[in-house]
């Protein structure tokens, strides 16, 4: 007899976010507000409670983050456009069936303008580069139906150069393998139909070795477990069709033990403070593990699987079969 996922409680938790706009933490996290909305909405969709947040208000907020100078979305009104928030905005509008609100040609121009000669993408005009941004660009272009405008060879070439001796991928060429960076590279390669660039057995094994005796997953050898790796690692393994290589029962138990069963939400590990980021990735991980009562999630986009499939974007990944509700 173990813990179960308290869906109603987590839905209330997500609904309550942003209610206390006087809160210092709310104010200090303005730079990731768009991401937070995406995490909240995705978690609700997976828990089959999409309507728990007001659709119109959400769409208006997303549109209020439009940076007309850059032609893309910032994290918050008056924040400069950035790839991270632009992807989140596109994901939210897609899930809310409001993509027609987007000036697609301008956004595509913005995204493509951020690719550098090495093939990597900058996050914004400020120039920080990271394979995360490469993934954001690929996913965003794909969701906008404009993937054909991308220089695929150049993009794949950069990912290839980020491959390390242990089979993993880092944030930049020369950087250490890290599970989150592995996910972004694998997801991008999946969208581009270039999973052949990966030594799938080696990488699958490196990912499987992220599982610790307590069932949780870490991001690199000898680091602590964290619920968010339940998604980064699991989704990569799902894309490589190797989820069975990890112990699903122990991972499920670990994620469930990180719930805050008093206030709702999921934390990075048991006993810590929950937040919407870990709530989303915990629920996403559970979905990929076949947890009963949840909706299917597409691991490449971290969005509802049925939606991605309806857009003709589904790739050949496998999740564990959905278990029946007791």
């Amino acid at each position: 007899m173990g813990l179960t996922l308290d869906i109603p409680l987590h839905v209330k938790y997500i609904q309550s976010l942003g209610e206390n706009k006087d809160d210092l933490v709310y104010h200090l996290t303005a730079h990731l507000r768009m991401n937070a909305i995406y995490w909240g909405l995705t978690a609700l969709c997976v828990m089959k409670q999409k309507d728990a947040l007001n659709r119109d208000e959400m769409i208006e907020f997303v549109m209020s983050c439009w940076d007309d100078e850059a032609g893309a979305f910032g994290a918050h009104p008056d924040h400069d456009a950035h790839l991270l928030s632009t992807l989140s905005a596109i994901q939210v509008l897609t899930m809310q069936d409001a993509l027609e609100r987007v000036d697609i040609p301008r956004v595509v121009k913005y995204i493509l303008s951020l690719q550098q000669s090495s093939g990597v993408f900058a996050g914004d005009a400020y120039g920080e580069v990271d394979t995360r941004f490469l993934c954001c660009a690929v996913l965003a272009l794909s969701l906008l139906g404009r993937l054909h405008e991308l220089d695929v060879e150049k993009t794949v070439g950069y990912i290839r150069r980020c491959r390390n001796f242990d089979g993993g991928f880092g944030a930049r060429e020369g950087a250490e393998s890290h599970a989150a960076q592995v996910f972004v590279c694998v997801a991008a390669l999946a969208v581009l139909d270039r999973l052949d660039e990966i030594d799938q057995d080696s990488l699958g094994w490196w990912l499987a070795e992220r599982q610790l005796p307590n069932g949780g997953l870490n991001g690199r050898p000898e680091k602590l477990e964290d619920v968010c790796y339940s998604f980064w690692v699991l989704s990569a393994m799902s894309i490589l069709n190797k989820i069975p290589w990890i112990n699903a029962k122990k991972l499920t138990a670990f994620i469930l033990s990180a719930q805050d069963l008093e206030h709702g939400g999921i934390a990075d590990r048991p006993g810590d403070q929950p937040d919407v980021f870990h709530t989303n990735f915990g629920v996403a991980g559970l979905s990929l593990l076949g947890y009963p009562g949840l909706d299917d999630l597409d691991p490449v986009y971290c969005m509802p699987a049925s939606l991605i499939e309806s857009k003709g974007l589904r790739k050949g990944w496998t999740a564990l079969p959905r278990r029946e509700l007791a």
Partner: protein, 334 residues
Amino acid sequence: MSDLLADDPEWADVVPISQYENVNPIAPIFYSEECPYAPNKDATDYFRAVVKTGEMSPRVLKLTETIIQMNPAHYTAWQHRYKTLIALRSDLEEELRLMDDIAKQFMKTYQVWHHRRLLLTAINSVDVAALELEFLRDVLEVDTKNYHTWSYRQWILAHFNNEARLWARERAYAEALLDADVRNNSAWHHRFFVVFASGVRLGDEDREQVRKRELAYVKEQIAVAPNNASAWNYLRGVLETTKTPFEELTSFVEPYTASQRPAPSEEVVDLDNPLPTEKAELPCVAALEFMADAYEKRGGDAVPKAVEIWKLLANEKDTMRKNGPRMNELNNTK
């Protein structure tokens, strides 16, 4: 005495812009003086105003510094700060020093490191790069595995690419960190980066000598602490990069697959194949995996030996991953 810019005569000419001026607020916000983030709101309201007017002045530098201190992830504030520094032709080395404490305080924030990268690029000096590498040693002392710091270090080395001044002491640095913590995956990665993944180091022109040296090094570290995934990943990486067959390592690895060290009377000193030290926990799972892979590569009647090991791992030594890649082979031999 108020710290708010609203009460500062130096800012009297600026009209602050409140957060929801151009947006229909979902819920109206009333800020009281006791509001815990009044200073932050005050600063960001004035920041919004100067971004709009495009002001780039010393007081803007002060303002962005205030915001960054309160909220180091405020990427727009960093951007505007950098633009202002360039516009004012500020002393960028002085800026680096000014930002040292912020880097140490907020080392898990992407922006602090990107700012420094922009500064190093603009300053474009190997001397400054060398100083920066020293500074990073201090940072890494606090958090030896900080991902941002390490990838920034790797960027500095690759970007300036100066053998004598920058690359020369890196292998020794990685080694010192591994002496302190042999399980530091970042240090192992850095060693591989320096030795094998960024061109040939001065003094490393004899690649066969490098191969021998690296194999000897990783074997020593495995002997000290066999249950260390990083070391085994490093070993496999060296074998693949140098095209060394697994077979060459089997005499070394085999003792690590036993349940205990050989008895002292049986022990033959072989400097090329250090035995597990006293404290080692045996058998070592990674050693078992290695031997199994070696048997599999040997082929023929060595394959059943591989299967035996996989069964042992699946049933006993590494049950967590019992549904791993070998499952098909195990099922086929039932």
